[in-house]
Symmetry: C2
Subunit: 212 residues, 2 copies
């Protein structure tokens, strides 16, 4: 499959397809047309056909898409047919919220450790795993072949911590610190800026009020 | 200013401009060229010029952009020149993390209340504000003219709670529940799906490993 040519924009939409197909599957739906998918996802049917054609066209004229098959295939494309060992750096509220979010585990993201530099938290159990000192982080990553680190630490510490993790062979960083982390080629990063979506919301609220 | 014609794709990029310009401003930078902005933001200079032209071209040939002015203008476009009263529904780890995130307050999002249906949490103070029963939510929204509700509650409860909030006149919903909330026209919603970005990360990790 020629995955290399798929644009990040399409990739960015795949998790949403995956979610909706997962719901259809859970409801027992066996097949779905691009028009039906369009109605529930509020995306045009032609966009859906175009996106899914990137992966070799799972649909058949007059039949639509096989839900289970398409769900599985998109899951494979998203790399969800394997397991990822994941640690969380920062055991504050956000770190704990993510650790407790069981759904990630279901998708193959296995919560293996959590680290903080606040001694008050050392030994506290989160989902059965004790918070460790950040001084133990590097050795832990090396010993346990951790794939993904989730950063829920302040912006001021993020770059240095990321550098340490990269030296220890981390493959991906899911970054919630308030900066766009820059990483060397071969390391993947997703920067999550929660406030960006809040600002989109304020834009839409104020625009709607100006229109009235 | 003809804001209506700006695409959501451009709007979606504005918070990022706003963040970078804010950093430049905090560092005391007075002006910046589209090329410099391109280097730090890792977006092409032509994309930057095109995006900012939507708002009437703040740049001047040979001078670049006035950082302070552009920052302020984008802030206004994003609706950040006014205050928003905000409540959080769900006082779990994620709700508490968002309540404690001071940066939102700086941007004009004022944390006014937090609600949960777990009696153990009632009266617990978060940023000086007591957790209230969800039964008090509707009256509170009505009495205090709340603009935005943040939903950090399970998927199963989200649609019903959103409906109540909308009946009480809420203007925007920042939704972290794991579904795409559908709301009537005139109400704004931003659905945040944290797992979508985690799946993008797993895609990039697995693609990189397949390429090797």
């Amino acid at each position: 499959m020629e995955e290399k040519e798929i644009s990040q924009a399409v990739i960015g939409r795949l998790p949403r397809y995956f979610r909706y197909l997962g719901e259809l599957r859970d409801e027992g739906t066996e097949r779905v047309s691009s028009q039906e998918l369009s109605d529930i996802m509020q995306v045009t049917a032609s966009q859906i056909r175009q996106d899914l054609n990137n992966f070799g066209g799972f649909g058949q004229q007059g039949y639509g898409y096989n839900v289970e098959f398409l769900y599985e295939e998109i899951g494979k494309i998203l790399g969800l047919d394997r397991k990822y060992d994941l640690i969380i750096i920062g055991a504050g509220n956000l770190g704990q919220a993510l650790a407790n979010y069981m759904n990630f585990e279901r998708r193959g993201f296995l919560f293996r450790g959590i680290f903080d530099n606040n001694p008050v938290l050392y030994g506290k159990k989160i989902r059965g795993i004790e918070v460790q000192s950040m001084e133990c982080m590097e050795q832990y990553v090396l010993d346990n072949h951790i794939d993904i680190a989730v950063l829920t630490i302040p912006k001021s510490e993020a770059a240095e911590v990321a550098e340490k993790l990269i030296r220890c062979g981390i493959k991906g960083i899911w970054n919630f610190a308030h900066l766009d982390l820059k990483v060397p080629e071969g390391v993947q990063v997703e920067n999550v800026h929660l406030s960006d979506s809040l600002m989109k919301l304020s834009y839409n609220i104020s625009r709607f009020q100006n229109e009235k």
